[in-house]
Amino acid sequence: MSNESALETANALLAPFAQGTARPDPLRLDAMLAADQLLPAVKALMDNKWGYLVAISGVDLGLATGQLEVLYHFGGADNGITTSLRVRIPRDNASVPSVCGLVPSASLYERELSEMLGITVVDTPNPTHLFLPDGWPDGLYPLRKDAAVPVATTLNS
């Protein structure tokens, strides 16, 4: 599939679920989704063998916005296109549904997302720590903007 037709196919597959789509660069398509539309959108991509899950990025949009953003990056099966499903959720009681039922390989990415940003991934098969050590304090999520993780001071002092 050429890049252009892969983009068109992704756009057509995601349009029914998306609040909006964007083309941030020639090889990318972004689809903004409500959290409850995530699973149907992923299912549409997987059912049509559009591509594979490359990564899940979690971003803290800051205390002022009160929101976190989760991006599910999908790579085209045989082309250079990246489609990102973007879901915004409130910082308090942050949660997204697990996509592992549709994409089994998402388990490690969901474990990382959950422990680093404090997002509950509902129904993820293994909710334990992947990277953080045993005995890591509850409620300290290092990639949150307000997390007091003194990595920089440890390295610089």
């Binding site: 991006l71 099966a77 990595v151």
Partner: protein, 397 residues
């Protein structure tokens, strides 16, 4: 009458020290006799807080930080970071700089694949292969050192270009080294194709179908050895790959043997494209000016590291530091294939299957600070860490 039997899964923990390569990771394998019935992984033993650390450093400092994500494909990390930040800033490095980036990328792939060939030989009990391939790997290490001044963190990139030029004398030295390595690689391909003990340790081991590779999110040579035609150098060419393309190498074997063949055959493509770059290196500047602040926005770049697809997603709020740097390394993507394909194999095959994906633990572990199990003080200064290290070492003696 049947005797009453009690079935309970017996768990064998492997690691965190030296599960396959000389890097830490912890695995738990459920076994029934010698046969593996389940597998799980626990990582983070070399997690250093790089993604978080990047948020507190400026754009130029981060180039040096991300180069230290991986000690093997350090140049790949620096290049994809530079490409992503340049895309954010709307700046493109000059053609000569892009060609030199690709040249070092391919030299790095040569050293990485030769290193892996030695490791798989060693894990398979074929130490002669390990010693010869690592001896020959020194040729490319010397070339990289002559070109950049360093064996590990080459530090070739700057934002907006590269800092190392290639002189005609260096180009000749590289051609000569590559000629020797190509001859040796033909020999290694012959060895792995015909050596019966190597074939015995790798054929049918860690077998993965194309459908499995797709479902498990496999990347790089691990995926290509299962017939998945996916290589970002070809699917989404970056740096100078549009001008100096490489051929896709795939295999349908799906086992550790096929992963070996794919990596060895990729070496020939590396040699070919390295010669082509040296012969037609574009003239011109090495850098363009790069601003201190990068305008607000976000960029995402995926490249083909020696181990497979590497993704950087970077967000800028318009300041001197990035707002967020997300890195997805190829080893993390490939763990799913190990945990699945290992089931049903003998315990003794574990090192070959682990080694088969060419795991790089430093790559997938990036994030957190040291925590002593004792005492209330969680956050150590450098001086405290140093004193702890000295006391620990004195105690060992």
């Amino acid at each position: 009458m049947q005797p009453e039997t009690k079935t309970e899964e017996f768990i064998i923990p492997i690691g965190p020290q030296h599960p396959a390569l000389k890097e830490p990771g912890h695995f738990e394998f459920g076994v029934d006799g010698e046969t593996i019935t389940s597998a799980s992984v626990r990582l983070g033993y070399v997690h250093r807080g790089i993604e978080k650390g990047a948020e507190g450093r400026n754009w130029a400092q981060n180039l040096y930080l991300v180069e230290r994500v991986c000690g093997i494909c350090s140049h790949t990390h620096a290049t994809v970071y530079a490409l992503t930040v340049e895309k954010l800033a709307g700046i493109e490095a000059p053609p000569r700089a892009q060609a030199i980036r690709e040249l070092v990328l391919e030299l790095e792939r040569v050293h990485s694949h030769l290193l892996w060939l030695g490791v798989v030989g060693h894990e398979g009990g074929f130490d002669t292969l390990f010693m010869y391939s690592w001896r020959d790997r020194e040729i490319v290490m010397d070339l990289l050192e002559a070109l950049t001044g360093n064996r590990v963190n080459y530090s070739t990139n700057v934002l907006g270009g590269v800092k190392h030029d290639v002189s005609p004398a260096q180009a000749d030295a590289i051609r000569k080294g590559i000629d020797t390595l190509e001859e040796r690689t033909h020999h290694y391909l012959n060895v792995v194709m015909v050596d019966s003990s190597f074939i015995g340790r790798t054929k049918g081991v860690g077998y993965m179908t194309k459908e499995q590779a797709n479902a498990l999110g496999a990347v790089g040579p691990t995926a290509r050895a299962s017939g998945v035609a996916r290589d970002l150098r070809i699917n989404a060419p970056y740096a100078a790959y549009p001008q100096y393309p490489v051929e896709m190498i795939t295999d349908t074997g799906g086992d550790v043997f096929a992963r070996t063949v794919v990596r060895v055959k990729e070496l020939f493509e590396c040699y070919r494209v390295i010669r082509q770059i040296l012969d037609t290196l574009p003239a011109g500047d090495l850098t363009v000016k790069f601003p201190r602040k990068v305008k607000e926005g976000e960029a995402l770049v995926r490249v083909e590291a020696p181990r497979g697809e590497l993704m950087y997603y970077i967000k800028s709020a318009g300041g001197e530091n990035p707002e967020r740097v997300k890195i997805r390394t190829p080893t993390l993507a490939n763990w799913g294939t190990v945990l699945t394909t290992v089931v049903g194999h003998k315990l003794a095959d574990v090192p070959m299957i682990l080694g088969g994906i060419d795991p790089c633990f430093s790559c997938n572990d990036r994030m957190i600070t040291v925590q002593p199990a004792t005492g209330a003080e969680r956050h150590w200064t450098w001086e405290q860490l140093r004193r702890y290290g000295i006391a620990q070492y004195a105690g060992d003696r």
